[in-house]
């Protein structure tokens, strides 16, 4: 990966220029579709953009400098990390990546939830603390399955490059591993059956309860980018074929991402929120079970 390619991936596709509008479009699609499922008209697709502009134009609250710096640090770090993760997605065939980039990618994907937990504790609000607690608990239980599935794929592809994992994993490992990661997806996006940390009827806004104006705008931007990156990650490792034509690859990537948004919205509208205990049990039974199956398949494929 040379400098020009890296900068293009970071700033244009699938980085900043693509990810920010796409993130807003995904959030808008989710809200619109959920409204339609509930028999309402719902907000326009541009709603997340209007929300962002309005929040960014709010005047900051008078706060102590140390508190302001701490509260601004977490959403900035979260947004920056998730943009970096987006740039590492192997959308095209020619991308070689570098050895061990899957570790960097997964590490960057993990920064937003950690930031959210820390921001919840830093807010010194009881709702923020309870939300952070829930976020940490549910994130750890989904990450065990997430990492096990990724380890299975990396072991069967015999590489730590994202491109090699995306192209070289045999289907008997890929199928259960991608299913396990798919179950983890609504947990990481805090969507309905697992919207435990930001349950508005129970803990108000969860860890973001003290975030005002610009901070909330940054958190919303980070969430939009998280949608693009996590969904894009599942698409890139779940769809192994690349045509070699850049525009066909890009089109398949975008179309599969939108398809996954529809699936997630359908699940989110059709289910009620689980309790923390029910959610962790479900994750351990289904997601971790599938991940273990994929790990066993990986060792069988390797033949040791």
């Amino acid at each position: 990966m040379n400098l020009v390619e890296a900068l293009a991936a970071l700033l244009i596709f699938p980085g900043l220029l693509y990810a920010v509008p796409m993130g807003w479009l995904m959030l808008g699609t989710e809200r619109k579709l959920r409204s339609r499922f509930q028999g309402r008209i719902g907000p326009p697709l541009t709603q997340p953009f209007y929300d962002f502009v309005k929040l960014a134009a709010k005047w900051p609250l008078p706060r102590a400098l140390s508190e302001r710096a701490l509260l601004a640090f977490f959403p900035l770090l979260s947004t920056g990390a998730i943009i970096g993760a987006t740039a590492l997605l192997p959308v095209f065939r020619g991308e070689s990546g570098f050895a061990g980039d899957i570790i960097l990618l997964v590490g960057l994907l993990e920064i937003p939830p950690v930031c959210m937990v820390l921001a919840g504790y830093a807010s010194r609000s009881i709702y923020g603390e309870v939300g952070a607690n829930r976020e940490a608990a549910v994130d750890i239980s989904c990450n065990i399955a997430f990492f096990t599935a990724l380890i299975a794929m990396a072991a069967s592809a015999n590489s730590l490059r994202t491109t090699a994992i995306a192209f070289a994993t045999p289907w008997q490992v890929r199928l259960p591993a991608v299913l396990a990661i798919l179950i983890c997806l609504p947990v990481k996006l805090r969507l309905n059956p697992f919207s435990i940390s930001n349950a508005e009827q129970e803990v108000l806004a969860g860890p973001l309860v003290e975030a005002d104006g610009r901070l909330l705008a940054l958190w919303d931007l980070s969430e939009a980018l998280e949608w693009v990156t996590l969904i894009g990650f599942v698409v890139t490792i779940g769809v192994p074929s690349r045509s070699g034509e850049w525009w066909i690859d890009a089109f398949i990537f975008v179309a599969c991402s939108i398809g996954l948004v529809l699936l997630l919205t359908l699940v989110a509208s059709g289910t009620a929120r689980l309790k923390l205990r029910q959610a962790t049990r479900l994750l351990w039974r289904c997601s971790f079970g599938l991940a273990v199956i994929s790990l066993c398949a990986a060792f069988l494929v390797r033949g040791n």
């Binding site: 809200r31 409204s35 509930q38 028999g39 309402r40 008209i41 719902g42 907000p43 326009p44 541009t46 709603q47 953009f49 209007y50 929300d51 962002f52 502009v53 309005k54 134009a57 709010k58 005047w59 900051p60 609250l61 709702y127 508005e200 009827q201 108000l204 806004a205 973001l208 309860v209 003290e210 975030a211 005002d212 104006g213 909330l216």
Partner: protein, 156 residues
């Protein structure tokens, strides 16, 4: 009349299309609260105008108050009003926060609301109909959109 540039107009447009509500019950009988909640239902569906009910006052732009301000709720009301970031608007739902309604003259109430915090829009009625509430909130959003500085109408 000051002329505003592109970014200001963008912000105005965004504010007119997006409003986060925070609802404060200052001793209301729940009549107005039920009518406010019914605005969110499929029949009235205020989310199509970008209006959303928020749980935290830190996220909100529109402060919706119902009920005559009782002694117990006056302190929390002032605290929560200060927690909303500027620019913000206050909407008084129902006759109680506007005049005290049937509780007028009672030693137990501290209202009407405009003696405690500045009120932008009154929606009279006991309780007001949901369409009246939607209209009141729309008027409040319109009032909020043009506030670019403390001089352009912001009340502190």
């Amino acid at each position: 009349m000051k002329h505003y540039g592109f970014l200001y107009r963008l912000v105005e447009r965004a504010r007119e299309h997006s409003a986060f509500l925070f609802h404060f019950n200052a001793g209301a009988c729940n009549g107005c609260d039920i009518e406010l909640i019914s605005c969110l239902t499929p029949r009235y569906d205020v989310e199509q105008y970008g209006i959303k009910l928020e749980g935290s006052p830190r996220h909100a732009d529109v402060f919706v108050v119902s009920g005559p301000i009782t002694r117990a709720t006056r302190g929390p009301l002032e605290v929560v009003y200060r927690q909303l970031p500027d620019p913000k608007v206050v909407v008084a739902i129902g006759s109680c926060p506007a005049t005290g309604n049937v509780f007028c003259g009672s030693p137990m109430i501290e209202g009407p609301l405009d003696q405690i915090i500045p009120v932008d829009i009154y929606v009279p009625g006991c309780p007001p109909r949901p369409m009246a509430i939607v209209e009141g909130i729309a008027a409040a959003i319109h009032k909020l959109a043009g506030r670019h500085s403390a001089a352009s109408g912001e009340q502190r």
